[in-house]
Amino acid sequence: MHDLQHNPESVTLRTTEFEASDLHFAYEGVAALRGLSLNVREGERIALLGANGSGKSTLLRMMDGLLFATSGTMKFRGQALTEAALGDDKFALGFHRQVGLVFQNPDVQLFNPTVFDEVAFGPLQMGWGRDEVLERVNKALEWIGASHLRNRAPYRLSGGEKKRVAIASVVVLEPDVLLLDEPTAALDPRSQSQVIELLGSWNDGRKTIITATHQLEVLGEICERAVVLEGGAIVADAAPQTILNDTALLQRANLVHIHRHTHDGVPHRHSSPYLHHEHQ
């Protein structure tokens, strides 16, 4: 396994946000996590890389206290995230205020009749006053450039708009930790860059952002640390460029494939259209 390559001094002073230790989890007998351990420090921007079914989404849901390990422990700021802890209303509200999760499929996250109601849902659950809710929702809608969509039904929005509203509905709570499950999946290039720019503008250096993705082309923009998952376990944890340079690892983790094509009739092959590559 790779060692953490980025400046260790910059992280040693920061507090630990998540401590995952020997996590195991299975869906109806099918293992999703197999002894996964991971520490996340305050302010880190981490990408969880892995093919479909590698355990990225399961890990994010455990970090958000929505799924619980069959064995092993997941801690947030020293507090174990157990079913009993999340069953306590006071703890659950405080925790979800601090840790937000944007789901991969925006349709499951958008269940209110209008965009405004959608973004206001979280602040209302927190019990905030009317003026504060209005102010935060307006600010969040302005931030995603969707003030004009406030009265539209979320299910009538385009894919990119839905994703931006889903992000706003979580970011409106101003969490310390943002968990993103494939935020740019199934988006056109313009919507992809809008989402990445939004996330870049939200981070003030103190926020922790953990992004699950298998899109290597966005890696440099979303993280300083990349963790590669394969079969429910971590197989690499390093700076993004180190991971991107390790073609064998990427092929083994099913993140790149051998790409065949021809130049002037001459057959030619390389690993991925996203890795640095010079044609002869």
């Binding site: 659950a92 509200l93 979800h96 499929n105 499951v108 269940f111 009749p113 209302l124 659950q125």
Partner: protein, 269 residues
Amino acid sequence: MSAHPVARTLRGFSQALARTLVSEDAAHARGLLQGIDPRVKLVGMMALVVASALSHRVDTLLELLAVGVGLAMMSRVSLWSLARRVWLVAFVFSFMIAAPAMFLTPGVVVWRWGWLAATAPGVHTAALLVLRVEAAVTLSTLLVLTTPWMWLLKALRTLWVPVEVIALLAMTHRYVVLLAETANQMFESRQSRMVGRVKGREQRHMMINTGGVLLSKTMAMGDEVYMAMLARGFRGEVRLLAEFRMKGRDWLMGAALLMLAVAAVVAGR
């Protein structure tokens, strides 16, 4: 290739269902019921539904149905839409249940077709059942159509309905919408891959398989929706920006609906 009529009907129904449930267009229209406090509307309309269930007279049930039609008109709910989506469906299902009573109840025969003979008490019993269902479904549909779903849940909560029931209802609402949306996508996807005519037996097999897959898919998505609600702090309690406040017209409307319900119970005995 054009879609099979059944598929077309189901697709149209699921699209309309999703649109109606999600958009809440009727709930935001300017009409009589939309302007009433949701708690008053809930209690008043439920009292009328109970009165329909307790009524044993055809004329009383017809009057309750007329009240429903009047309220729909004053609340700008399309009668054509009610007829297609509510009255027709309620009639088909309730008539299927009530029809045997027409032939099995002893009494004076009023209509005969071969060995089938409908009796006067049988027809009366069947008419009572069908009208009861029509009146109750019309009144409860009006309540749901003219009230934003979250307001209705909050009104239920203020009437001491437990948090668990509210959470269940919130999930059911989203689950039905998901079911309708997924059904649409599956119909479209299947239609795009079909060539030529499919035999009746194969068609039935496909429909059964599709139904099974649809249910498991929507159950999985329903779980995700619930997680997405929990992730943003949902604990079963309904919280809204708008607070309910009783005004003079709410008291008046509440009194009118309750008096109507009591009168219907007395007259329908």
